[in-house]
């Protein structure tokens, strides 16, 4: 009886570990839902072009991560992308003239939002929008412009 009980406990541990692993693969490894939003406040920014920015990309000031992107929408009236980001609650001193940029980490790396604080004394609150943004640099467009500007004279 005792032996059989031990075996059943081992089987129970095995099955629950298996289910936990499956759960981790579907929740933590892939993006079946995005739980763990964390507490903090939400800011929005409008961009003409977000390049390859993705949900959960980091938001940084001076290279330090202070939050992450939680939602990307398309505004079909203004033909703009609206990026919503969740900022840690402690980081409450973001001036309202801060510029939101989309940068790329490394040449081919991940895209993130870099904030450049301005000098204003009023700070952004929950659900505020950045007044000034600059879009992602699209590499193909840069190359295209370089080719056109270097076009030989005449033809």
């Amino acid at each position: 009886m005792y032996n059989s009980r031990n075996k059943e406990i081992a089987v129970g541990i095995f099955v629950s570990l298996g289910l936990a692993a499956l759960l981790m693969l579907s929740l933590q490894v892939s993006n079946i839902s995005n739980f763990s939003q964390g507490d903090g406040y939400t800011l929005a920014a409008r961009f003409d072009n977000i390049g390859g920015l993705k949900v959960k990309a980091p938001v940084r000031i001076g290279g330090v991560r202070i939050g992450r992107v939680i939602e990307i929408q398309y505004d079909q009236n203004n033909y703009e992308a609206i990026v919503k980001m969740n900022i840690h609650r402690e980081q409450s001193r973001i001036p309202d003239d801060t510029i939101a940029n989309i940068y790329t980490a490394g040449m081919l790396g991940e895209q993130y939002i870099g904030l450049e604080p301005g000098g204003s004394e009023t700070f952004l609150q929950d659900d505020d929008e950045f007044s000034e943004t600059s879009s992602a640099i699209v590499l193909e467009r840069l190359i295209g412009e370089a080719i056109y500007s270097n076009k030989p004279e005449g033809k």
Partner: protein
């Protein structure tokens, strides 16, 4: 040797091959037909789940951890040269979930659980236990084979998922804790690139297929082993070798079907 002899040998070989395939197919059908009867004997199933699944857990966990850590280390060394070390989580997760998890778990499962199944059933045959059961009007396929087969089928996806999950944790430990990859980028790149259905679900399907192949081969070899010490040892060897070939061949076909386009 004249030409007709050669044709005869070819014909003989084809006939043998077809007979082998047919015998295995019929045996599988017999097992499948016996599965409903298992519902009345859950105790047998849990016992086999212990022998086949829970006891294989240690080797799977250790191997998964080792593979994940090594993969993390090697990938980091390559990726850091092109300053793409943030994609470490993505690379490791995809290779584990799609390929390494199911295939390595299948191979380990064949070595740890498949061989034990064949040896156990083969010895039962060699010591006339199976014949004794038939005497008592107990169907050895239903009583011995079916619980082991279903337990194997049930265990493999679990073991493969544990392998992949522990492997990803191992690469997280090496990449983020030791080598300094950004934690947020590690998970966010992974979550952005790993598809819950295209990758995770297909990995589970793969491991289910491998579990079917390994346990099918193992119980067939055990049940049809020559009833001698040598016969059992040969059957055990065949189980491991044939399972490995079956897994590797099937993996190529499944990968082509699942991730081909």
């Amino acid at each position: 040797m004249n030409i007709l002899d050669r044709f005869q040998r070819l014909g003989q070989n084809s006939e043998n091959l077809l007979a082998q395939v047919g015998a295995r197919g019929l045996f599988l059908l017999r097992i499948l037909a016996g599965i409903p009867a298992l519902l009345g004997h859950m105790k047998l199933f849990v016992q086999q789940l212990y022998a086949v699944g829970a006891q294989t857990l240690t080797i799977i966990a250790v191997s998964g951890m080792a593979v994940g850590m090594v993969l993390g280390l090697q990938m980091y060394n390559i990726l850091v040269d092109i300053s793409a070390e943030n994609t470490l989580g993505h690379v490791v997760a995809l290779s584990l979930v799609r390929e390494l998890g199911p295939v390595l778990t299948g191979l380990l499962f064949a070595g740890r659980a498949g061989s034990a199944l064949t040896a156990e059933i083969g010895l039962m045959k060699a010591t006339d236990q199976l014949a004794g059961m038939e005497m008592m009007a107990v169907d050895p396929v239903k009583r011995i084979i079916v619980p082991r087969f279903v337990a194997g089928l049930f265990s493999m996806p679990m073991l493969a998922a544990i392998f992949s999950a522990i492997g990803i944790l191992g690469s997280y430990f090496v990449g983020v804790d030791l080598l300094g990859v950004d934690e947020g980028a590690f998970w966010s790149r992974m979550q952005a690139q790993v598809d819950p259905y295209g990758d995770v679900l297909n990995g589970v399907i793969k491991s289910l297929v491998f579990g079917l192949l390994v346990t099918w081969i193992a119980v067939y070899e055990g049940y049809h082993a020559t009833a001698t010490t040598e016969g059992v040892s040969q059957a055990t060897t065949r189980t491991v070798v044939h399972s490995a070939f079956a897994i590797l061949g099937m993996d190529f076909i499944l990968t082509g079907l699942m991730f081909g386009d």
